[in-house]
């Protein structure tokens, strides 16, 4: 029978690397999609997830409820993605809030770009907090209560962020969707 998260977390605390490998195997791709959507690329998401797991390994003692290891790990994923997007925003003007420029790039220089690429680029134009809320709500399909638990943000604020994200996406994708 497979060991529970609690058993594996306790084993990792005792220095058992095999138990750590088992946790990695269990949650390996659980949050990959979120990381890819937040960072905008698989390569960057790979870096983020390496950092996530090393932070989890170093701080496993701080996982106060090992039965809910997955939720604790999700919090680390969200924090690492925030750190990553914040650093990138400082160094990369591509992520500066400039929807007109992005739309021009979509419609002029890449006329045949796939629909999904257009949506991803529009998503990248959103402020990080709106992107995070939109992805958690509509891509990961989490209820607001769970979103509040893992982000540390109140339900009302999250609803507002999702609403604003939808408004912004509607502006950015005008012409692609006519909803």
């Amino acid at each position: 029978m497979a060991e529970s998260d609690r058993q594996l977390v306790h084993a990792v605390r005792s220095g058992d690397l095999d138990a750590f490998a088992a946790l990695v195997g269990r949650y390996r791709d659980a949050y990959t999609r979120f990381a890819v959507r937040m960072t905008g690329s698989q390569l960057d998401a790979d870096d983020v997830m390496q950092s996530v797991w090393m932070r989890a390994f170093r701080n496993i003692g701080a996982c106060k409820n090992p039965d809910r290891f997955g939720a604790w790990l999700y919090q680390i994923v969200i924090n690492e993605c925030r750190t990553y997007t914040s650093r990138r925003a400082q160094r990369d003007s591509r992520f500066v809030d400039d929807p007109a420029e992005t739309l021009a790039a979509l419609s002029v220089s890449e006329p045949d770009v796939a629909l999904r690429d257009e949506i991803e680029k529009a998503l990248e134009c959103l402020p990080a907090e709106q992107r995070e809320a939109f992805v958690l709500k509509h891509v990961e399909e989490l209820p607001y209560e769970q979103m509040a638990e893992i982000t540390g943000v109140g339900v009302s604020a999250l609803k507002m962020r999702v609403c604003r994200a939808c408004e912004r996406l509607r502006e950015l994708l005008e012409g692609v969707y006519h909803a």
């Binding site: 605390r13 790979d46 701080a62 999904r116 999702v162």
Partner: protein
């Protein structure tokens, strides 16, 4: 209003559907990660400070009848060792099967009306493990039997105040909440 909500939901669904496609990490992700983890463990081992002769491991074997007396004795050794070395290194209380496995938690707080200890060993339940007031004013203590391994704990004073052990190394979780770290490892009693 309801039409707007329905329209928003439909729009969000249109946007989100293509983004729900499963994403997978590179096939060598685990191998790279485990190499990092192994390197980190090796680094920790290599940089672990040497113990002085007076805090080198000791094994205390005790019968059930003498266990309480031994626990009290260990408390003195552990508390003294911790107080002396905590500024330099992580305190380690060690034990093994067939040896005394009690760890004594002591907090000095002359203003406290009640003290309890919370940690991974009691599910962080604040009412689970109260400390007892000792004959010395302001000194609270309790002895617990702990399994070998790394433990995190904190004291709760007067049912609401979270206090990290001033004589121990602190560790922070994702949200900056500090707790104290205690290592209980087999075969030795001492501090590293």
């Amino acid at each position: 209003m309801r039409d707007n909500e329905a329209r928003d939901r439909e729009f969000a669904e249109q946007i989100a559907r293509p983004l729900r496609e499963v994403e997978l990490l590179a096939p060598d992700f685990e191998a790279r990660l485990m190499a990092q983890a192994r390197a980190e463990v090796a680094r920790r081992e290599a940089t672990r400070p040497r113990r002085s002769w007076w805090i080198t491991g000791r094994v205390f074997v005790a019968s059930p009848l003498t266990t309480l007396a031994m626990a009290a004795g260990i408390a003195v050794v552990a508390a003294a060792s911790t107080l002396v070395v905590a500024r330099r290194a992580q305190p380690t209380i060690t034990a093994s099967r067939d040896t005394v496995e009690f760890v004594r938690f002591v907090l000095v707080d002359s203003t406290a009306r009640s003290v309890s200890v919370v940690g991974d060993f009691n599910g962080w339940k604040r009412d689970e493990t109260p400390l007892n007031a000792t004959s010395k004013a302001g000194v609270w203590s309790v002895s617990l039997r702990l399994s070998p391994g790394r433990h995190e704990y904190a004291f709760i004073v007067d049912g609401k105040r979270w206090v990290v052990d001033p004589a121990s190394i602190a560790s922070s979780d994702e949200f900056g909440t500090e707790s104290s770290v205690l290592l209980v490892s087999p075969a030795r009693i001492g501090a590293s």
